[in-house]
Amino acid sequence: MRRCGTTAGGGVGNLALRGVSKRFGSTVVLDDVSLEIGADEFLVVLGPSGCGKSTLLRAIAGLETIDAGEIEIDGARVDHLPPGKRGVAMVFQGYALYPHMTVRGNIAFGLKNIGTERAEIDRRIAAVARMLEIEHLLQRLPAELSGGQRQRVAIGRAIVKDPKVFMFDEPLSNLDAALRSRTRQEIANLHRRIRKAMIFVTHDQTEAMTLADRIVVMNQQRIEQVGTPLQVYREPATIFVATFIGSPAMNILPVTRAAGSGTLQWVRLADGTQIETTASEASLPGQGALRLGLRPESVRLCGLGDGQTKALVDFVEFLGDKTHVLLSLAGGDRLVALDGASCPVHAGESVGVLFDRAATHLFDAEGRNRGLTG
């Protein structure tokens, strides 16, 4: 059982999932997922392809039935209701605008289906169009719009129904880099304005880190960790979260247990270097392999005689504002250090290496972070 696979913190949940599971035949696609989302919270579900994040969204929307568990919105159970009656709206990855309807027709379709009066439909469309600055596009067909405009129309179609929960299924993946960044800001602004629960599915950690109040990291159909962007970055619950969040990824080095003294635990790298960690001796399992996690920015280069150990520089990547330095330790371990723009080292050099004790993570054989408190 993984540590953070259950209910997250936060206030009264507008949306609550309890023990939700889903199978396709013998394949488990959601495994006992529990989660609560605040009424005005922006939650980002992050994970690699096939981890179950889109299925989770579709289960909440009612596009997939669930095999076990409960889904509640505003305290009322909804998992038996059809999608149109759950009070949710979704922006699809491919926008899913009806190609034969104008922008106005697309936005009005949902309102007409629930019998909204024409005057009210017009009023709501006008308000949404003004908010999203698409008033001049209302009579156009989707084929006549750019990717960014389609994105706005898809969002407008969701907003106009005034749902309790908004869901976004990788909505930025079809946009180019510049437009993606701008749309990301617009979505953040939109959330600030309408203050509704939003669930945003992505595999892009930049989107997750910049948009989320909380991030749900999923892997292999389960929730690995729920936390604020800072929490999942600085206090990854598992080795998966540690390596999935951050670029370059966290260095993971096999270590053996060295001296321990109550609240302190020392570990030994393959080259014999001993490193002090934040894990306490008491928090470690009696036996089993251990792995040390170090963010690249926690690995500092220094003169040969000044480091805790020495390393050979294999490769240097200058990225303008920063430099990635690929290092080999004497014991065969390889790791990446993050240095400044004016990093003076070159491939083939030997350098000293210092490790930031406060930023170390110690993972047990199951991949759980044993250095976390609470």
């Binding site: 009612g62 999608p83 699809f92 491919g94 009806y98 289906n113 179609r157």
Partner: protein, 281 residues
């Protein structure tokens, strides 16, 4: 530039050769039609002497006025129109609904049923015609519109075409409509059906053309001349006139019978070409 000029010249030459070839092929295709048109504009007496008179005046519209004045062609035209439209509308409705069912609904036996449907594509009409004739005879359906229309409604190709088309339609559209609170029928009617218009147009045109041109079943089912379709009616006239003195009149009837289909073709040729292209890919 100097290097490209000869190349461009050679390209233009090839284009002209291709155009000439296509023009010749078009002429070969159009020749029988033009010949028919030419003969229909000549008096029967002139043609009795020699069909070479078709290349020289005088020309006349007498054959056409005879058709409009005396012939049963209008009745046959009406029959063909009723039968072709009914079959076309029926095939479109049934194929769309069945295609949607096969493409999107999950029900026991769907795969088997679809294979059975595909077998329907491979069974020639000739192999079932006697059984069908006996069945329609037993049901007293011969010499009725129902007798002419019902066999055409069994259109496995139409179901197959629409199934493939609906399968290719993004599922996200239906899911978006579901979230918009639309019922399954509304999704079919308001979203999928309008999106399938290109396929509907192709299927509708081909169904209309094949029903209009169908000769064999109407020949068997419609023995009363009042129930003749145009193809059967024109053929029955041929027995009376073809070898005697009515060649111009016969050709005028052929032109008259072809006119609606030519009009349909001219109006919808974009969809016909698209349909053929789609079938080839």
């Amino acid at each position: 530039m100097t290097l490209r000029a000869p190349s461009a010249g050679a390209g233009a030459g090839r284009n002209w050769a291709l155009l000439a070839l296509l023009a010749l092929a078009s002429l070969a295709m159009a020749a029988p039609l033009l010949w028919t048109l030419l003969l229909s504009l000549k008096s029967n007496g002139d043609l009795l002497r020699s069909t070479r008179s078709a290349f020289s005046p005088p020309y006349t519209l007498q054959n056409y006025s005879d058709i409009l004045g005396h012939s049963a062609v209008f009745g046959w035209l009406l029959n063909s129109t009723i039968v072709s439209l009914a079959v076309t509308l029926g095939v479109l409705a049934l194929s769309s609904l069945a295609g949607y069912g096969f493409a999107r609904l999950r029900f026991p036996g769907r795969a088997v049923l679809f294979i059975v449907l595909l077998f329907g594509l491979a069974i020639p009409e000739q192999s079932v015609i006697i059984a069908r004739h006996q069945m329609f005879s037993a049901l007293n359906l011969h010499n009725t519109y129902r007798g002419l229309i019902l066999p055409g409604l069994a259109a496995p190709f139409g179901v197959f075409l629409m199934t493939q088309y609906f399968r290719a339609t993004p599922r996200e559209l239906e899911e978006a409509a579901t979230l918009d609170g639309a019922s399954r029928f509304k999704i079919f009617w308001r979203i999928l059906l309008p999106l399938s218009l290109p396929a509907q147009a192709t299927l509708g045109i081909f169904t209309f053309l094949s029903t209009w041109n169908d000769y064999w079943w109407p020949l068997i089912s419609a023995t009363d001349s009042d129930m003749y379709t145009l193809t059967v009616g024109v053929a029955s006239s041929q027995m009376n006139f073809a070898q005697t003195n009515g060649l111009g009149y016969l050709m005028a009837q052929a032109v008259f019978a072809s006119a609606p289909i030519l009009i349909v073709y001219v109006i919808f040729q974009r969809y016909i070409v698209a349909g053929v292209s789609r079938a080839a890919t």
